[in-house]
């Protein structure tokens, strides 16, 4: 008999816990409700049967409405790439993919090691680097602080299209710029229908915890539905701050917020692709800072993944993530367990590569290391094949007691493919290590980043598309000024 090993899913919640949390969320939506800072959104919810108080902008959503919305939310979709070989199909029980943490404003200078603002020139380098790293499946924006504030999101997308043929994850500053970015994606995809079939961009939107939906969030939910753009419903209460102190309470709250997002999206656009993105945070009670690398976040996120599996929707979790100031031992320690827990929780997407210090700082070295950390996570959940040939009873018999397997044909046959071959982990002798300069892993990561920036040539946009984009972008920026 031949078969693959089990998916090694990590679980904290029992089935009855899951039912209790689900039921609790239905109860909260019906009785406490959500705040929706969007007149049309409130009218829309009222029309569908919610109890709306327009004075306080509060909508109380009956449970049958939630159930109806859950029926149409898809269990799978593909984050398509300009180059189809780099597509990321998000499938229940499928392999995880990964992206960098989006929205960094600072960097650690690759040459000098100095902490400084991220600039436009860095943005190009970062996109190029992430395009080359195969442990980073798709790319989220980083922001150049020397770029104009108005339309910065649009310019970031233009740079991304020019530097990668991977899927691109967007950040939008306003509803207007979001629509313009979708029109840019239409140009690159070759039409609105083509974009819907193969969405080459996706978006993340986060309600404000607790239970508040801003106008831009409602706009985004609807616009994504209209264009068929996959959306991460990112729910991120900060335990002890914007969420209850208890882990259970944080899960209860974020699950309620996710379901509210499902209602607003699915009732307007049934079947719109949504991803459950539980990003439970925790407030450090000494400083008030929001923590990224605390082990409890991994535990809570795992419970969040269980809720996603219960609702049969793809799930995106914080993967390589850290509070550290730079790519040091703390950073690598924190992101290693965060990423491993997320992968073992059954995440479809591992988010965070490159990112440190309250999601403010990104570094080249950290991205290179995280590409490797992601590969380790991918390998861990992949398991292995079990069949007669691989169980190797005949081989063990042939080699016999006291022999060795090094020169056996079976070893030769399975030499490649059984193991992940790391590119950064040093595994040779001390002599060889000293001869080559006694470099640490961070030194090696830096060398690799420099080599990639020197040599890598991203796959350019086709000439006609490039022209069309370059005509569109200045007009788009101008339209924002009005």
């Amino acid at each position: 008999m031949t078969s693959k090993t089990l998916k090694p899913y990590l679980k904290y919640l029992s089935d009855s816990h899951i039912e209790e949390i689900h039921d609790g969320s239905l109860d909260l939506l019906e009785n406490t409700g959500i705040m929706v800072d969007h007149q049309e959104g409130l009218e829309f919810l009222e029309k569908h049967g919610a109890k709306v108080d327009f004075q306080t902008k509060r909508a109380r959503i009956p449970r049958q409405l939630v159930r109806r919305a859950l029926e149409t939310v898809p269990d799978r979709f593909t984050l398509a790439a300009r180059n189809p070989e780099k597509d990321c199909p998000l499938i229940p029980g499928g392999r995880p993919y990964s992206r960098n943490g989006g929205g960094a404003d600072f960097t650690i200078d690759l040459e000098t090691g100095e902490f400084r603002p991220l600039l436009h020139a860095d943005v190009k380098d970062y996109y190029k680097l992430m395009d080359a790293l195969d442990g980073i499946s798709f790319i989220a924006p980083v922001f150049g602080q020397d770029m104009p504030v108005l339309g910065r999101d649009i310019l970031m997308l233009r740079e991304a299209f020019g530097h990668t043929d991977k899927h691109i994850h967007l950040r939008a500053f306003t509803g207007e710029s979001l629509k313009l970015m979708f029109e840019m994606a239409v140009i690159v995809a070759g039409g609105k229908k083509e974009l819907k079939e193969r969405p080459i961009v996706s978006l993340l939107e986060a309600p404000i915890s607790p239970l508040k939906f801003l106008d831009v969030t409602v706009d985004a939910l609807w616009l994504c539905g209209e264009y068929g753009i996959p959306l991460d419903v990112c729910v991120m209460p900060i335990a002890g701050g914007t969420g209850p102190m208890t882990m259970a309470g944080n899960i209860q709250l974020l699950n309620t917020e996710f379901l509210a997002g499902v209602v607003i999206s699915q009732l307007a656009n049934p079947g719109a692709p949504l991803q459950y993105a539980p990003r439970p945070m925790a407030m450090d009670m000494r400083t008030g800072f929001s923590l990224a690398g605390s082990v409890e976040l991994g535990i809570m996120a795992t419970a969040g993944a269980q809720m996603a599996h219960f609702y049969k929707v793809p799930v995106s979790l914080h993967g390589p993530w850290s509070d550290s100031m730079t790519h040091d031992g703390q950073s690598i320690l924190e992101r290693m367990y965060m990423n491993m827990m997320a992968a073992l929780a059954g995440a479809n997407v591992l988010v965070g590569a490159g990112m440190m210090q309250q999601s403010l700082v990104i570094s080249h070295e950290q991205l290179v290391i995280d590409s490797e950390i992601n590969h380790i996570a991918f390998r861990s959940v992949e398991g292995f094949e079990v069949n007669a040939e691989r169980l190797a009873r005949e081989v063990i018999d042939r080699v016999g007691p006291g022999g060795n397997f090094v020169a056996d044909p079976h070893t030769y046959k399975f030499l490649r493919g059984e193991r992940f071959e790391p590119t950064l982990q040093y595994r040779n002798s001390r002599e060889a290590w000293e001869e080559t300069g006694s470099k640490t892993m961070v030194d090696r990561a830096k060398e690799k980043a420099l080599a990639i920036l020197e040599e890598h040539q991203p796959n350019p946009l086709p000439e006609d598309i490039r022209k069309e984009l370059d005509e569109f972008v200045p007009k788009a920026l101008k339209s924002l000024e009005k």
């Binding site: 060795n404 090094v406 020169a407 001390r430 002599e431 060889a432």
Partner: protein, 213 residues
């Protein structure tokens, strides 16, 4: 270079031993000399294998497969080479030292050396200084290679070198040592000629030592 030798090198790289054997015979039929086939075909082919192994592109079992292919060709040439005395790169006695039973590393070194064309006399594990001395003497070895995995047994390397001295053999044989706890400093301290950190390096080291003789 002739097409047949180019193809032979490719087959050698891929570990296709019967193809290498056939190509060796064909090359002889075409009128090439045995030393020419050995140097420009088999050894030149193994040099490419060695280069890619050091670069990390090939794994040990693949090198061993190529070595097996080289031996298939070498067997065809051996009777002809014996006349010119070019069959062996040198004789090496190897063993895991007294008190130590770990042999996978020593076996790897043995296989890699054999692949590179050396003649190997493997004494196994828990080899006493007296046994090393006897084997070096009987085989007229060029090199003796000692392995140890334990800090407690690596001192046997020193006793073996002293025994070689007492038997008057030390200036007739080169000594190389290796194993997890061994360092080049230690090798120097006990009077060994060389330290090799891994199986690949052992081949280069053995070549250097034989050349020094």
């Amino acid at each position: 270079m002739s097409d047949i030798l180019v193809q032979m090198q490719k087959d050698l790289y891929a570990g296709n031993f019967s193809e290498v054997e056939t190509a060796t015979k064909t090359a002889l039929d075409l009128g090439m000399s045995a030393p020419e086939i050995l140097n420009d075909g088999l050894i030149a082919g193994m040099d490419i294998v060695g280069r890619d192994f050091r670069a990390g592109d090939l794994f040990i079992p693949e090198v061993l497969m190529s070595a097996k292919a080289m031996h298939a060709g070498l067997e065809v040439l051996r009777p002809l080479l014996a006349e010119s005395g070019a069959a062996s790169q040198g004789k090496i006695v190897i063993g895991t030292v007294a008190g130590d039973l770990h042999d996978i590393g020593k076996n790897l070194v043995g296989m890699m050396l054999e692949g590179a064309g050396f003649e190997i006399i493997d004494l196994g594990t828990n080899v006493t200084p007296e046994q090393f001395v006897q084997a070096v003497s009987e085989n007229v070895a060029d090199v003796v290679g000692m392995s140890a995995l334990l800090t407690t047994t690596m001192l046997s390397m020193k006793s073996t070198i002293e025994a070689l001295q007492d038997a008057g053999l030390r200036d007739k044989v080169k000594v190389m040592v290796g194993g997890a706890p061994v360092t080049s400093k230690f090798a120097e301290d006990i009077g060994a000629d060389r330290y090799a950190p891994d199986a690949g390096a052992a081949v280069d080291t053995a070549r250097e030592l034989v050349a020094l003789k």
